[in-house]
Symmetry: C2
Subunit: 347 residues, 2 copies
DNA sequence: ACTTTTTACTTAAAGGTTTTAGACTAAAGT
DNA sequence: ACTTTAGTCTAAAACCTTTAAGTAAAAAGT
């Protein structure tokens, strides 16, 4: 004889003949009532089918929800394909699960407008990557809730980053120490185009502060240090870290003349695409072509040949960001995750 | 001279000298007020820094939140590592983004207890995989909200599934049509152990209704049809679809005597691990060993040799599940996603 | 000129919880 | 025997919306 309306705390209170406060306390503050009464309430609730306070109401009253939002750069669907994002989210989830928080993924770049006001729900936010013109980012800021940024630095918030310049410089130097002379760079998000293309001379000098730019600058610095040179023509822009896009760029790079014998890739996904295209073209790696990646995704180790890359601790970043957010390290801490050169067989 | 308290609809109403209902209508039901007043309200809100109604309050009042929950079998962190789950979630996100819904991932198997009552938030749920003893599953059911199940069938809810028996039978037959005589099966979640192990004769006959069981039965049926046999000793149980766990099982299988020349893997991740171990042991695939997988994850195509497997349309499953949920196809529809044998070079 | 319909806005109840301040009782201290 | 203290529990306000029902005025119909 169950009613179809779900039970409320109030109804339960009246059935059990205690105040609503007592029921609430039974669930939230065990020290506020006798153990015996609490036992009774809990078991009666179980029997009646009341499974704890309504979240919306609690959230309204307390002003918190137990939910942590992660704002991603691109569409949600894209981030599920991306190995780096997955590792990052994995790190976040581990920490959140331990702390009994829920994870809400927000993208802002949905096809529709963002109307729900969902940004009001989470108790804090992890902002992943640059959010240049994301309207949701603005809205989140206005919530005045704890924020931690990752792979993107703002004076206003604590952040988790790597030293992109140092990491890129190190791995580029590793490549350049081998006998290479004709280079190509396959970069990610170098410019604001959503098509795979080479960049222009102008774009090469157009300095900005993105992660990609920092890496590109480091690559070029390393190349110049080694008395080599690279033309804008030999630098490709790949808009999203997708295997298929990368393959297209790889094909262009490997078939252009003079023949390339070293490729610097700004991600492992790109490097894997290069390996695949090289195989199709019967170019043997690392004999005829040296390839380096960036990220150290799980697949890098399993590739043929295994990929030389630099580990940027994506999972650790996620963990640290979540911890920083939960511990309310509100003192605008800037965390730097160490990177590590991972030498395998592609170079 | 901003107050530190965030603005509420009520305050805005009193500032603008209109009723709260009018403000609410300005945001939610444009037809309820004159275009002119609405314009004024919206622009004033912008100016004042009021960014729309509070979600908790709206959610409390309306009884809906714009959030869709996905209940996963294992920990969140695990699901971010798993390629199949990622494809599935990708499918879901695509549809949700189009419909302006948010995605909340729920796992239920968190280390702590699940106390938040978060299950009250979503407007509907996608249940992914069996949820035998998941307390959160019980709680979700009690919400009486729309539910769609995937990879798991219940008479009570619409569901999205594949024909596991047919798919497994087909690919097993493909393997058995080659010259193989000594087989091993590397299965997923065959029993309730969290360690990699062989199963026992008793466990082999212990019928249950899981996805894994259905596939295993189909494998065995195919084997018997081909006048071959397989011992429980040659069937491994792998608790989670993790590369490292799979490698352990693969090592055991490939070093046990008599020498195996065909391995049926219940997932591509497992099959990839087999390829890797085979290479380490200098066993050449497909000459000395035929390997088949299941799932058709993106990496399967890129492996050496490319993996023969069966595509189970994980992404499509996600899309269909999300659509079924949103369209409120409440007439308990049972959707079947077609599977497809993908013949490559590992067999 | 009078009634009906439409438009534009308001009133006020409801939604389900948490929490502060306080009430009552029983135990402890003097 | 009287005051403190501690231990339990309650009353009621507050959290911020949405929406059904209602009012008043303007437009339309006859």
């Amino acid at each position: 004889m169950q009613s179809n309306k779900p039970l409320t705390l109030k109804k339960v209170a009246s059935i059990l003949n205690v105040s609503t406060a007592t029921i609430s306390n039974a669930f939230n503050r065990p020290d506020q009532l006798s153990a015996r009464l609490r036992e009774r309430i809990l078991s009666e609730c179980e029997r009646l089918g009341y499974h704890g306070p309504n979240l919306a109401a609690r959230s309204l009253r307390k002003g918190e929800s137990g939910v942590i939002g992660v704002l991603l750069t691109d569409s949600l669907a894209y981030h599920f394909t991306d190995a780096v994002a997955n590792q990052f989210l994995q790190g976040i989830s581990e920490v959140l699960e331990k702390n009994n928080k829920q994870l809400l993924m927000l993208s802002g770049c949905s096809s529709g407008q963002i109307a729900t006001g969902i940004e009001a729900l989470p108790d804090g936010f992890i902002i992943y990557g640059t959010q240049d013109h994301n309207p949701l980012f603005e809205r989140i800021i206005r919530q005045n809730k704890p924020i931690v940024t990752v792979d993107f630095d703002s004076p206003d918030y604590p952040s988790v980053n790597i030293d992109n310049h140092a990491a890129a410089f190190e791995i580029a130097n590793h490549l350049l120490a081998q006998s290479v002379d004709t280079l190509a760079i396959l970069g990610l998000r170098l410019i604001h185009s959503d098509r795979v293309c080479r960049i222009t001379q102008d774009e090469l000098y157009d300095q900005s502060e993105s992660v990609s730019r920092r890496r590109l600058d480091a690559y070029i610095e390393a190349i110049k240090n080694n008395n080599l040179d690279i033309d804008a023509e030999r630098i490709w822009h790949i808009p999203l870290n997708l295997y298929e896009q990368a393959k297209q760029a790889a094909k262009e790079a490997l078939t252009s003349l003079p023949r390339v014998n070293g490729i610097i890739c700004m991600s492992d996904t790109i490097a894997l695409a290069v390996l695949s295209v090289a195989q199709e073209l019967n170019i043997s790696v690392p004999q005829d072509l040296k390839v380096i990646g960036f990220d150290d995704i799980p697949e890098a180790k399993r590739a043929t040949p295994p990929l030389t890359t630099v580990c940027q601790g994506s999972k650790l970043k996620g963990q640290l960001a979540a911890e920083a957010l939960l511990d309310k390290h509100q003192n605008t801490t800037k965390l730097m995750v160490p990177t590590e050169l991972v030498i395998r067989k592609s170079c």
